[in-house]
């Protein structure tokens, strides 16, 4: 059975580093190698950054859930930041670099499975899975 760890984090940029550190500890205990741990750190940081940056209510906190099993880690970042319209999401055009718009693209590139549930006026849950292989 998987172990579930939950973090409730204040909505401030300075705590994203702590989340990253905690997740990297957990990924290490699951048995991921250094490269995979770095991937997970970046993906989770991107998700936290989105929870923070796109929040309609100032300083709203968010939750990070981690499920550790023998062969995988599942990390979900859940916010009450107001959600967004998934249909208007556009993949970044990599030939014309822009300042933003890379977060979800990077998460999908680094994790094995990514699911986003978002409801306008409520919030967003992004669920990311990585397997040890």
């Amino acid at each position: 059975m998987a172990d579930l760890l939950k973090l409730s984090v204040p909505g401030k940029p300075e705590y994203v580093g702590m989340v990253r550190m905690a997740i990297s500890c957990l990924a290490n205990s699951v048995g991921f190698d250094i490269e995979a741990i770095e991937d997970i750190k970046v993906a989770v940081s991107e998700a936290c950054t989105n929870a923070l940056c796109h929040s309609k209510n100032r300083a709203g906190g968010y939750e990070v859930y981690c499920e550790m099993s023998d062969d995988k880690i599942v990390v979900s970042v859940v916010d009450q930041s107001g959600g967004y319209d998934k249909n208007s999401y556009k993949e970044p055009c990599l030939d014309q670099p822009k300042e933003g718009g890379l977060g979800i693209y990077i998460i999908k590139a680094l994790m094995d499975e990514v699911d986003i549930f978002t409801e306008i006026g409520i919030g967003t849950r992004i669920k990311m899975v990585k397997y040890t292989k």
């Binding site: 490269e35 940081s45 693209y105």
Partner: protein
């Protein structure tokens, strides 16, 4: 999380050398942004970002670099990124920014 940045201007070559140490994420990206902007405003010139001592960076750092790159390009200057660690190089490759920012890797 901590970010320290060392910078120096090479007057002979007209070149900035900027070396961030530590981690660039949402909490420290503004520090990198203002460091690059201040340097370029002080002395217009190309910028070398030496990433040898940078342990971590995510899209918040990429955004800062792309922003500076675009603004400098308009004035005819450019940014080159040196010595990225494996994890950061992977991020640059995923986003195709390695071809723009680390051109020398492909020479």
């Amino acid at each position: 999380m901590t970010l320290h940045i060392q910078k120096s201007f090479d007057h002979n070559k007209g070149l900035w050398n900027i070396a961030p140490q530590g981690e660039v994420d949402i909490s420290t990206a503004p520090v990198l942004r203002s460091c690059i902007d201040e340097a370029f405003n002080e002395e217009n010139g190309n910028i070398i970002l030496d990433f040898d001592q940078l342990r971590y960076m995510d899209s918040t750092g990429l955004g800062v670099i792309i922003g500076a790159y675009s603004r400098m390009k308009e004035k005819g200057y450019s940014i080159v990124l040196k010595n990225p660690r494996k994890n950061i190089l992977k991020l640059l490759q995923i986003t195709n920014l390695d071809r723009v920012l680390c051109a020398e890797l492909y020479e």
